[in-house]
C-alpha cells in the first residue's frame, strides 16, 4: 500500500481477480473457524494427510457395528483390541469381557495352530482361512476368518484387522446340497445298474429294443434291433412306415393293425416275417411291447424284438419228426398184421399147389394169387422200411462201386426221354448200410425223378461227402460226423414247401391214382434213418428237385458176405415145435413143415412151449415167432431154453424185426426167417439150423 505507483499500473480485471481470491481465502478461514468443514488436508513430506474433525468416522463405526460379519482388531499376538457386537454374539460373550483377551480363547486344539499360521502369513496381503470357533455356550461355530494388516502409522504397534463370517448357514446349505448330490448320485447309480442289467438281459436274450413315439412318429432303436433287421450302418430316423416296410408285403397289413390295436389295448405281441436288409433273407421276428398313455391318449409304444426264425424251425422239425414217428408206429403195426395175413395166404397157396389136380386154369389162378402175395410182401417191406422195423443187412460198402452197377438199372428205369448223368466221387468212400435197400431207395428216387420230368430232362446221380457239426447234425436229427451223401437231382416240375413237408408220409402222393403207392419216399426216409443217416430235400417249383440220402461214413472196409441163392426146397425129418400166437399162421406153418416131412408139435405161447420141453417131449427144433403177447416172447423163450434145454436148436421168425432185440441174439448164431416166407425159404432155414446143430 505504500507503493501506490505499483497499484496504478494494475489492470482493472486483475484487480477483480485479486478481490475474488481474497474473498475465497476469507470464506475458507470463516468456514474452518465456524466448524463447517469435516477435515483438513495438510501437506507434508510423506504426502497429503487428512485430519478428520469430530464424528467424521462415525458412519464407518456404525457400519462396522451393524454389519452381519464379526469384526476385530488384533495385536500381533492375537489379543483383541476391538470387536464388534456381532463377533461378541458369535462367541456368546459380553463385549466388555473380550477386549484385551486373546482370540485364541475361542479356538480349540489344532485350530490354534491354523490361526497362528494365518496370522504370520505374508504380511501386507489379505488372507483367510476356515476355522471353528468354540463359543462360550459350548457350540462350535464354523467361520471364515479374513485377516489384513492395518496400516495406520509407522510409529504405532502392529495391528491386524479381521472379519469373521459365520458359515453355519452356508455349511448347512452345503451339507444339504451334498446330501442332495449324494442322493442324486445314488439314484443315477441305481438307474445305471438297472439299465445295465436290462441291457445284459436283452443282450443275453438277443433282443433288440425299440420305442415308437406316436406324437412325432419316430422310432428309436437299439443296435441289436438294427442287427436283427439287417441294418448294418446306423441309418436315419425310422417312423412306423419305415418299420412296416421291413415286413414282407403279405404281413404288412397285419403288423399295421397290431400297432393300431396296441393304442387301445395297451400291449402288442406278434410274430411276423421280415426281409432282412443286408442279405434279403426272410426271417421271423417276434415283437412284444407296451403302450404308454398321457391323459388317456396313447403317446408311445415301447418294447423288444427278437429273431425267432431258428426257434420256429426247431419247432417245425420237432412237429415233423413227431408226426413221422407216430405214422411210423401206426404203419409198423399194420405191417405186422398184414404180414401174418400174407403168411396165411401164401402158405395155404403152397399147400393147395401140392394137393389139387392141376389144369391150365388152376395153375394160372394159383400163379396170379401167388403174384399178388409177392406184391403184397413187397409193399409190406416198404411199409416196414418206413417204420424202420425191417431187418437191415448192414455191411460196409463202397458207394461208388454200387453206383456204377446202378447205371444200367437207372437207364432202364427212367426211359429214353431222360438223360442220366453219373458224377463219380473223387475218392472211394465207404459207409455201412444195406446195399439192397440202398438200391431200392435210389430206384425209388429215380422213378420219382422220371415222373417229375414227363417232357424229359436230366437226372444226376452224385456222391459227395459232407461234414456236419453238432448244430447242422441236430437240425437234421442226426449225430455230428462225416456223411456220404447220395443225391438224385432232376430238372423237373419241383415241389412247393407244403408238399415237401408231407412227402415222406406213407401213402402221400402227388401222382395220379394208380400210378404210385405213396411209399417210395417213405422207404427212402425209413431206410436212411435206420442206417443212422437222414434225407434232405431241396426243391424249387419249375426248376427241379434234389433228394440226398446221407449215410454215416465208415472208416474201414469189411469183407462182404457172398450169399448164394439155392431156391430148391429141402425135405427133412424130425420133430419141430411151432410156437406162434396167431392160430392161422400156426396152422399154415405146421402144414408146411409136415409137407416137408417133419412131425410137428404146436404151442400158442412161450410158456406153453417150455412146459412141453420140461415134460421131456422129444423135440429136434423150436420154430418160434419173435413177437408174441404175454409174459414170454420169442427172445425170452430162447433165454429160458439156454438154461434148461440148451441142446435144442432154435429158428426164429418175424415179420416185424425189431432190430434192437434181434441183433444181440443173432450174434449168438441164431437164425431168423423173415415173414412172409415160402415153403422153400422155410425148408432151407430149418435144414440149415438142424445141420448146424448136428
Amino acid at each position: 500500500m505504500n507503493r501506490p505507483s505499483e497499484f496504478s499500473s494494475i489492470e482493472h480485471s486483475q484487480l477483480i481477480e485479486l478481490q475474488d481470491r481474497l474473498r475465497e481465502a476469507e470464506e475458507t478461514l470463516d468456514a474452518i473457524r465456524n466448524g463447517e468443514v469435516d477435515a483438513l488436508v495438510v501437506g507434508g513430506p510423506s504426502g497429503q494427510q487428512v485430519y478428520t474433525l469430530e464424528n467424521a468416522d462415525r458412519p464407518y463405526r456404525v457400519l462396522i457395528e451393524q454389519m452381519q460379519e464379526g469384526a476385530v482388531t488384533l495385536s500381533e499376538d492375537g489379543v483383541m483390541l476391538y470387536c464388534n457386537q456381532r463377533f461378541a454374539a458369535l462367541v456368546g460373550a459380553d463385549r466388555q469381557t473380550l477386549i484385551g483377551e486373546s482370540i485364541e480363547r475361542f479356538l480349540a486344539g489344532e485350530e490354534i495352530f491354523a490361526f497362528r499360521r494365518l496370522m504370520t502369513l505374508d504380511r501386507g496381503f489379505g488372507r483367510s482361512a476356515e476355522l471353528s470357533l468354540l463359543a462360550s455356550n459350548g457350540l462350535v461355530v464354523p467361520v471364515n476368518m479374513s485377516i489384513a494388516d492395518l496400516e495406520v502409522d509407522e510409529q504405532m504397534p502392529k495391528v491386524l484387522c479381521g472379519v469373521i463370517t459365520d458359515l453355519t448357514r452356508s455349511r448347512e446349505r452345503s451339507h444339504e446340497l451334498a446330501a442332495a448330490n449324494l442322493r442324486l448320485a445314488r439314484e443315477i447309480d441305481e438307474r445305471r445298474r438297472v439299465e445295465d442289467s436290462l441291457q445284459l438281459a436283452l443282450d443275453a436274450a438277443e433282443m433288440g429294443h425299440w420305442d415308437l413315439d406316436l406324437l412325432n412318429n419316430t422310432l428309436t432303436r437299439s443296435t441289436r434291433h438294427d442287427q436283427i433287421f439287417g441294418q448294418v450302418n446306423g441309418v436315419k430316423g425310422w417312423g412306423l412306415l419305415t418299420m412296416l416296410s421291413q415286413f414282407v408285403p403279405d404281413d404288412r397289413n397285419a403288423v399295421n393293425e397290431e400297432f393300431l390295436r396296441a393304442e387301445s389295448s395297451g400291449s402288442v405281441e406278434f410274430e411276423r416275417r421280415i426281409h432282412r436288409l443286408n442279405d434279403g433273407a426272410v426271417r421271423w421276428v417276434q415283437v412284444k411291447g407296451r403302450t404308454f398313455y398321457l391323459n388317456d391318449k396313447a403317446i408311445r409304444i415301447s418294447g423288444v424284438v427278437s429273431d425267432v426264425t431258428e426257434r420256429r424251425q426247431v419247432e417245425e422239425q420237432l412237429r415233423q419228426s413227431q408226426k413221422m414217428e407216430a405214422i411210423g408206429k401206426l404203419t409198423g403195426g399194420i405191417a405186422h398184421d398184414f404180414n401174418n395175413l400174407l403168411m396165411v395166404i401164401g402158405g395155404s397157396l403152397d399147400m393147395l399147389d401140392q394137393r389139387v389136380a392141376k389144369n391150365e386154369k388152376i395153375t394160372r389162378y394159383l400163379t396170379a394169387a401167388r403174384h399178388g402175395v409177392e406184391r403184397g410182401a413187397t409193399l409190406n417191406q416198404q411199409l416196414l422200411a418206413f417204420s424202420r422195423r425191417q431187418d437191415l443187412r448192414a455191411e460196409t460198402i463202397c458207394i461208388d462201386d454200387l453206383i456204377n452197377t446202378f447205371a444200367n438199372l437207372l437207364d432202364r428205369a427212367v426211359g429214353e426221354a431222360v438223360t442220366v448223368k453219373i458224377e463219380a466221387a473223387p475218392e472211394l468212400w465207404y459207409c455201412r448200410t444195406d446195399a439192397h435197400q440202398l438200391e431200392t431207395a435210389i430206384l425209388n428216387l429215380a422213378i420219382n425223378a422220371r415222373d417229375a420230368m414227363p417232357q424229359g430232362g436230366t437226372l444226376t446221380l452224385k456222391t459227395t461227402i459232407r461234414m456236419l457239426d453238432v448244430q447242422a447234425a441236430t437240425a437234421n436229427g442226426a449225430s455230428a460226423g462225416d456223411y456220404v451223401a447220395v443225391s438224385v437231382a432232376d430238372t423237373g416240375v419241383g415241389m412247393t414247401p407244403d408238399v415237401i413237408e408231407r412227402v415222406f408220409e406213407p401213402f402221400f402222393t402227388t401222382k395220379e391214382v394208380g400210378k404210385g403207392t405213396g411209399l417210395g419216399l417213405s422207404q427212402v426216409y425209413g431206410f436212411a434213418r435206420q442206417s443212422g443217416g437222414f434225407v434232405s430235400i431241396e426243391s424249387c417249383p419249375g426248376i427241379g428237385t434234389t433228394v440226398s440220402i446221407h449215410l454215416p461214413r465208415a472208416t474201414s472196409l469189411e469183407a462182404t458176405e457172398v450169399v448164394a441163392d439155392t431156391p430148391v426146397e429141402v425135405r427133412g425129418k424130425g420133430i419141430v415145435l411151432v410156437v406162434e400166437d396167431d392160430s392161422d399162421v400156426r396152422a399154415v406153418a405146421s402144414s408146411l413143415l409136415e409137407d416137408l416131412g417133419y412131425s410137428v408139435l404146436e404151442a400158442e405161447t412161450g410158456s406153453e412151449a417150455m412146459k412141453l420141453m420140461d415134460r421131456g417131449e422129444r423135440i429136434d427144433l423150436v420154430f418160434t415167432d419173435v413177437i408174441m403177447p404175454g409174459e414170454m416172447n420169442g427172445i425170452d423163450l430162447v433165454r429160458a431154453m439156454k438154461i434148461k434145454h440148451a441142446g435144442i436148436p432154435v429158428l426164429l421168425t418175424s415179420g416185424y424185426t425189431a432190430q434192437r432185440i434181434a441183433m444181440a441174439e443173432m450174434a449168438e448164431g441164431l437164425q431168423l426167417l423173415r415173414k412172409p416166407y415160402t415153403q422153400v425159404d422155410l425148408s432151407l432155414a430149418v435144414r440149415s439150423v438142424m445141420k448146424d446143430q448136428a
Binding site: 475465497e24 468456514a31 463447517e36 468443514v37 469435516d38 488436508v41 504426502g47 494427510q49 487428512v50 458412519p59
Partner: protein, 107 residues
C-alpha cells in the same frame, strides 16, 4: 492452472470437482446440494467429479484443497473454490458465475 484446461470441452461447459470426506453428514449434504444446483442450472452442460479425500488424499494437492467439503470450478476460468456444505445457494451460484434462475441477468 492451465493443466486443467480441457480444451476438448465445448464452449460454456462446466468442469467441477467436489472434495468430500467419506460419508459424513456434511459431505452427504454437499453432494446432494451440488447435484440439485447442477440439475437446476447447468442441465446438460456440466461434468462433476466427487473425490473422497480418504481414498485419494493426493488428489487435493494440485487444486490446493485445505479443507473439505470444497467445490472447485475448474472450467470455465477463472478457477474458483467454494468451501462448505453448499447450502447457501446464492453464494454457490455467485462462485460459479451463474445468475440464479428467475432473477435478472447478471451484470
Amino acid at each position: 492452472m492451465t493443466d486443467h484446461n480441457d480444451s476438448d470441452l465445448p464452449e460454456g461447459q462446466y468442469k467441477l470437482r467436489l472434495f468430500i470426506t467419506g460419508s459424513t453428514p456434511r459431505s452427504t449434504r454437499a453432494i446432494e446440494n451440488m447435484r440439485r444446483i447442477c440439475a437446476e442450472n447447468l442441465e446438460g452442460r456440466y461434468d462433476l467429479e466427487v473425490v473422497d479425500v480418504y481414498q485419494d488424499p493426493e488428489a487435493t494437492k494440485d487444486l490446493q484443497i485445505i479443507a473439505t467439503p470444497t467445490l472447485v470450478k475448474i472450467l470455465p476460468e477463472p478457477l474458483r473454490r467454494i468451501i462448505g456444505d453448499l447450502s447457501d445457494r446464492e453464494r454457490v451460484l455467485a462462485g460459479l458465475d451463474i445468475a440464479p434462475l428467475g432473477k435478472g441477468d447478471h451484470e
